[in-house]
């Protein structure tokens, strides 16, 4: 980790208007969704729930909000994928010393 050079108040001064603008942009987009016809169908879309979950994370404390939001928008990983995908015959012919 590299220590951040700026203090928190300095970062806040530099980014306040930017954050304000981005929150307003999201708010206006949500308003636009609700104003348009068939807003209920969007609310039933699983991606809308992802956006709601992302917004909830913004209100939480901690240092890893960006990573948490990335994970919300990520597909599930299956640790047994290799057994399902790669049968022995489909794997490249590796040298005998290589376990796979």
């Amino acid at each position: 980790m590299i220590a951040a050079v700026q203090t928190s108040p300095e970062v806040f001064e530099q980014t306040f208007l930017l954050v304000r603008a981005r929150i307003l942009e999201i708010a206006a987009t949500l308003d636009r969704l609700d104003r348009a016809e068939a807003a209920e169908s969007v609310r039933a879309d699983p991606r809308f729930r992802q956006i709601q979950q992302g917004l909830e994370i913004l209100l939480s404390d901690g240092f890893h909000r960006a990573a948490q939001i990335q994970e919300i928008f990520s597909d599930q990983y299956d640790p047994t994928w290799m057994k399902k995908y790669l049968t022995t015959g489909e794997r490249p012919a590796l040298s005998p010393s290589v376990p796979h």
Binding site: Q14, A67, E90
Partner: protein
Amino acid sequence: MYYIDPHIHMVSRVTDDYERIARMGCVAVSEPAFWAGFDRGSVDGFRDYFRQLTEFEPKRAGWSGIQHYTWLCINAKEAENVELSREVIKMIPEFINKPGVLGIGEIGLNKNTKNESIIFQEHVQLAMQLDELILIHTPHLQDKLKGTRMIIDMLMSDRRVQPERVLIDHVEEHTVGLAKEEGFWCAMTLYPITKCTPSRAADIIEAYGDDRIMVNSAGDWGPSNPIAVPDFIQELRKRGHPESKIKKIVYDNPLEFFRQCRRFEFTPPDVLADAVSAAEPVSAK
């Protein structure tokens, strides 16, 4: 500040872009083989592409004083066609020892499919046989976390793979730790909408350190910014980071990784400038 863009698709950019990035301080680029925007129909299509990467692009880059390096493979999108992929992989050794070729890349996954995984492993097999560096593309958006884990699973299951000879590209907040913890090199791509911004890349550097990490523009035929690396430099400067720290990420780190390639030859910009200056006629000085 001099910098290196370790991932940029210059075949998709105009000559003016070489000139622009040179003026911003770019002294070298590395260009991985990638998707042309359409699926190529034959191995000869790739043969022509590899000639362009190894013959013409170094020349075109040189017109602006930029040193050009490249990586060879069939990209993950076209890897869905296993038969064609195997023909391309078989053809790579024809080009691998050309000057400026750094290794196999950008291989990886796109939609995390079975065929992509098979061809990924066959590329790794080739890299191991030829003792080459590997440059890896990780998928976009919702596929990225799963795809990065799958890629690391495949790499870690091959005992011959040395993590320090592999660069995992397009890492973001949720994947950078996975790559670094296993000892791989990694890179962040500064790309509009779908990848990292300069400020988020700077945040990641502050959180994960400046070892084994670099930044690139991945400038290509889509909406992208070939001078994104200077934007990142400016972001770190605005935050008060020292020049030596910035130089490590945008210049020293790419060189450290590339120097593992036995063919890698690089002329530092000051030496290059002296050579050009010495070659000029007296009346031109």
